[in-house]
């Protein structure tokens, strides 16, 4: 029987953007938890040595990297390219955004990643549509091949709404009640852990809200994954 085989999928997700407090850590954390919930353990890097929020929120699952040192650069770039099927997720501190892009260009990282069968996915964060438009264009020009996904984090870009349709690829993060996120932090729970009836959030309503929220976001990650895997199908004559 003839059939088509979907390609493997080893993405490098980089949550990035030139501004602080734009939701990069939340996106990185969501993708990390999406991988874990799918039974895969990603390699995670927190590129904020001053306030390693991703590492803290994931109980040290993310390696903390200081990009201002050569050793830190080696740890990050070589870590991202190390052989293995695990997805990679990077939470890029806004202070390292430009140096990171410079290094990517200088090292021709995107080409090398493609050569080694990694899919580079840049999750671009920002606060205004205009800024995101400019930044997305610049990213596409500077980092190639890579997919730029503009993140509509409704905690930050409240009124953006349908205007995001202008972007070829976008990821929408709806609002979650701040009290739920605060409670998760207080109880030191992961996002997926929070929906567990026994060990998760005590409130059934909160768990339900969290589950719906995660479902909406994870479904989008799943779509991204499927798009990539189906986009690189190979014909198997069987």
């Amino acid at each position: 029987m003839r059939h088509v085989v979907m390609s493997g999928w080893t993405p490098i997700f980089i949550a990035c953007g030139p501004l602080a407090n734009a939701g990069k850590t939340l996106s990185a954390r969501l993708f990390l938890e999406f991988c874990r919930a799918s039974g895969r353990s990603p390699l995670a890097f927190d590129v904020n040595p001053h306030d390693a929020e991703l590492a803290a929120a994931t109980s040290g699952a993310a390696h903390i990297v200081n990009l201002s040192t050569t050793a830190g650069q080696m740890r990050l770039f070589e870590g991202m390219l190390q052989a293995g099927p695990e997805a990679r997720v990077v939470d890029l501190w806004h202070g390292s955004y430009e140096p990171f892009l410079d290094l990517m260009e200088q090292m021709e990282f995107a080409s090398e990643a493609a050569l080694r069968d990694f899919r580079l996915v840049l999750l671009l964060h920002g606060r205004s549509l205009e800024d995101l438009d400019i930044q997305a264009e610049q990213l596409r020009a500077r980092i190639n091949p890579a997919e730029t996904i503009v993140v509509l984090n409704e905690h930050i870009c409240e009124s953006a709404g349908p205007s995001f349709a202008r972007f070829e690829h976008s990821l929408s993060i709806p609002v979650l009640a701040p009290s739920i996120l605060q409670q998760l932090a207080r109880m030191r729970l992961g996002l997926v852990e929070g929906i567990d009836a026994e060990r998760g959030l005590p409130s059934m309503v909160a768990r339900s809200c969290l589950r719906d929220w995660l479902t909406q976001i994870f479904a989008q990650f799943h779509c991204i994954e499927l798009r990539h895997r189906l986009g690189a199908t190979t014909f198997n004559p069987g």
């Binding site: 050569t70 080696m74 770039f77 070589e78 090292m107 990282f109 090398e112």
Partner: protein, 246 residues
């Protein structure tokens, strides 16, 4: 294409002659000008460690060493000879080239002659320029500032600069940019050319497993070095057609 002899020298050690030679050899190969090199750091050699296939160790203070370079210029298919002159031997080497008639042959346009004078960071280096002036009237004379190890150069005042540079016909100034220390160190340890390191190969041609990041640093550094040589039209000087002999 005439044969080009490129003398890389300085009167002081540790100013980066060999690094300049190594960058130059990679540049020439990249521009499809097959070079050979002579390492005058006898008996051990430094340049030879990085370019063993094309480098020969010679003692320029001996006639045999001088013959090894000059008498083979017309015979070889290779069109560039890079000579890494031992520290302190620059003036003596130029005098020897004059005495054996090589500079006269250059004046007759039978060979190209390029001198890369690698400067040290202090004003003492400027005295060297005046010393080489009598020998370089027919040469393309370049001053090289090697900043690979972050050397800072003495800031010459216009009058000081004029006093020294007025004596030589300088074709230009070449700056070798800074290279990340760890990357430089790793290439030293690998003992290969910069381009071999970038290609992630060992001396034996096997996959070396060098750091991706450090290779990236070396790649962009070497690009800058090549851009510097291009800026002063280095390859054009070498590939210029020979003048017809009377």
């Amino acid at each position: 294409m005439k044969h080009t002899v490129i003398l890389v020298g300085a009167d002081k050690g540790g100013v980066g002659k060999t690094t300049t030679c190594r960058g130059l050899l990679d540049y020439l190969i990249d521009r499809n000008i097959l070079p050979r090199a002579f390492d005058t750091e006898t008996p051990r050699g430094t340049l030879q460690r990085f370019h063993p296939d094309i480098t020969e160790i010679v003692d320029l203070s001996l006639t045999a060493g001088q013959m090894r370079i000059i008498d083979t210029l017309s015979r070889t298919d290779v069109k560039a000879s890079v000579v890494d002159v031992r520290a302190g031997q620059m003036g003596r080497t130029l005098a020897a080239l004059r005495d054996m008639g090589f500079l006269e042959a250059v004046a007759e346009k039978r060979f190209n002659f390029i001198v890369l004078h690698v400067l040290g960071p202090s004003i003492a280096s400027l005295d060297e320029i005046a010393e080489t002036a009598p020998f370089t009237s027919d040469a393309q004379y370049f001053l090289v500032k090697n900043k690979v190890n972050d050397t800072t150069f003495f800031d010459w005042s216009p009058s000081t600069s004029k006093a020294y540079f007025g004596k030589v016909k300088c074709a230009g100034e070449i700056t070798i940019p800074k290279l990340n220390e760890m990357a430089y160190e790793q290439v030293e340890l690998a003992g290969t050319s910069f381009s071999t390191f970038i290609a992630d190969k060992s001396r034996d041609g096997e996959e070396a497993g060098h750091s991706f990041v450090l290779r990236g640093y070396v790649r962009s550094w070497l690009r800058s070095v090549c851009a510097e040589f291009d800026r002063v039209h280095f390859a054009d000087i070498m590939t210029a057609r020979p003048a017809k002999r009377a």
